[in-house]
Symmetry: C2
Subunit: 401 residues, 2 copies
């Protein structure tokens, strides 16, 4: 039977990526990979989780840990997050927090909540690939969010055609894929723009805790609360995650925002998967309460070292004409090669001859541009691997000039 | 700000239910509840899970347990499911299995995969409330699936108007909410109808393992494979769950079907939440491998007893004019009261005076009929509670005549 006759139209936008196929080769042990963007599993607080799961399954709480629970999420975890948000300048209550299965699910639900087919989502050029994937299911148009330009709200609204601009999405700190951080003035301008357009702001803060140097910048949501006095009057929806700080395999993240939005998202979540794993929420609450800060300090020290090795190696081995970002945190460095060099072709070649993997930047652009860019991750590599891998990559790129 | 100006149109169909509001009262300790439909937490294999989580977090596997994993699901769990499907007469391979976060998520993804706005979903009158909730997000029309009538494929197709009929959904064994089982002839007719309409069949088998008496019926998918020779030529998508057998709090279920469908669902899942919790999939695989059959035998013995208590109590306390189903398994008995009695009003009254909870049947009907029906669950009640609760309910219903 021809399933494509039966699939909904949205599936036309959900295709397997060629890059994903190429990157399946990463299992091969001789490849040096800067592709992942995943945490170093050696840094997981595994012993703490072992105790936390054992506690959750103790006689007092096992019935709760294994049973259905409410769609909103486990109350003590939501309360811990309320404390964390307060530290970031975001006073809120438990009712402003929805627990999601990772912040990827938060993006899916926000697309589902806000986008009818043909509506416009404003995103960076480039932006997080997984956000485009999540939003694509709701068949939006994309327009370029670029707070550095003076493009007017009217101009954005007009470009939306028959749909409506619904939100501006951005990863604010050490963004995936660029490693760049949105500065204070740009954060304020995003709020101005969103107010003028009467749209939501999706603040993806997945890397927020992983700052290795420089002053932390107040989140967009904190700035909007400063202006409007109350989170329930704000349009910014903050997406947080434990995947980069504690462990991704448990799939626990959250959305923090106005109660009207959280209430509606609870209904969406109830219809979509009832709730996130009860026991995992309990284990995350236990480990976060006991050692979030000390654990984050530990992993930051490790990732900072790797970032420095990578920046040093790039300095040493990249030919003139290649530029890259200098991230203050997170996991990524973004390379721009001379126009005309196709990084997807370069990856195919690299896997064949140099055995180094990276992600071609192309896939991060909603308009398909950026063929001369690439993303390198340093989070899961060691000093020798970084030095050798960047050396090989420099050789390959030099040959492509 | 007025969020309803920004929400996507699908949200018009995702409203908080009044019943849900009423049932929030269930926390009160003096209420006897037949509303839940949840497993008895005293029957969870908690010690086995405690060991399984501890093993998963042992030195060899902790990095895997806490890390990102593939969207398809944990291979050893998919392999265990392949064995289970074979036992049910469904020969398949690992590539025919997608792990989901409970079978509720499978329903969400199947709606997402198949429904464009205005397409038609065929469902029972009544059907599982959570299926309607999941599908509503994709803005379908509903038509009544009733394999007992001789309604023609042409008639179904015509009623679909400008959309297209996309699938027939049904819970096949001891269905939620009715407790009824689709007999062999009806299973065959659903395949005939789906072939004639060229649509998918969604076979919700959440309660399949919980048969307390009578012969097991071969699943719709097994019958279709008998006809067509190969699962990859079949249109039936089988949804399984560990929520009713091992534990719902871990959120682990699966879809089994043609590889073309599973491949596309993997892309949807990747975009929606990356993957289901790695550690939970590992723990379920361990516990299922060690004791699925023996554990299921144990809980079946307990639920059978409760079913019998409830059927006995209904016999004793219900006035003439009330009829109910006699389920061969599962968790539910379905009551039909004389027409004109409104069970939603009866619930409000019951919570006030009799302190007995149930679910009014109304919500299980896509057309809003069935106001004179109610669902009772026996899975989480004890002998005294059942006797006393049904006695009170009988009194209340008698008074309503």
């Amino acid at each position: 039977m021809d399933w494509h006759q039966i699939f909904a139209t949205r599936n036309d936008r959900m295709k397997a990526s060629e890059i994903r196929e190429l990157l399946k080769l990463l299992d091969q042990p001789d490849i040096i990979s800067f592709a992942g963007g995943i945490p170093d599993p050696n840094l997981f607080p595994a012993e703490a989780f072992k105790e936390a799961f054992s506690d959750a399954l103790g006689p007092e709480t096992q019935a709760t840990a294994l049973q259905y629970s409410v769609s909103e999420g486990y109350a003590p975890l939501r309360d811990w997050i309320v404390g964390e948000m307060a530290r970031l300048g975001i006073p809120c209550s438990r009712d402003n927090i929805l627990i999601t299965s990772g912040s990827q699910q938060a993006l899916d639900y926000l697309g589902k909540l806000l986008l009818s087919p043909g509506d416009t989502a404003l995103v960076g050029w480039p932006t997080y690939l997984g956000a485009l994937g999540a939003f694509n299911a709701y068949e939006p148009r994309y327009d370029r969010l670029d707070p550095e330009t003076n493009r007017s709200a009217e101009d954005y609204a007009e470009a939306a055609g028959e749909g409506r601009v619904k939100f501006a999405y951005m990863s604010v700190d050490f963004a995936n894929p660029t490693g760049r951080t949105l500065d204070a003035a740009m954060r304020e301008r995003v709020i101005d723009l969103a107010d003028a357009l009467d749209i939501a702001v999706i603040e993806d803060a997945a890397y927020q805790s992983l700052r290795y140097e420089g002053e932390a910048l107040s989140p967009v949501l904190a700035r909007e609360i400063e202006r409007k006095g109350d989170i329930n009057a704000c349009r910014t929806l903050y997406c947080g995650s434990f995947s980069k700080t504690l462990a991704p395999g448990l799939r626990v993240g959250w959305v923090c925002g106005a109660q009207d939005v959280i209430n509606q998202m609870v209904l969406l979540k109830q219809a979509a998967d009832l709730h996130s794993s009860t026991i995992n929420q309990m284990a995350i609450a236990t480990v976060a309460t006991a050692q979030f800060d000390s654990h984050v300090s530990k992993i930051k020290a490790a990732y900072l070292e790797r970032r420095d090795w990578m920046l040093q190696a790039l300095e040493t081995h990249m030919p003139a004409g290649v530029t890259w970002t200098r991230p203050e945190g997170g996991m990524f460095v973004w390379l721009e090669l001379p126009k005309g060099i196709d990084c997807a072709a370069l990856l195919a070649q690299s896997l064949k001859t140099e055995r180094v993997a990276f992600v071609p930047g192309h896939a991060f652009f909603a308009d398909g541009s950026g063929t001369n860019t690439m993303r390198l991750s340093f989070s899961n590599a060691n000093e020798d691997g970084i030095e050798e891998g960047i050396k090989r990559l420099g050789r390959l790129i030099s040959a492509a000039f």
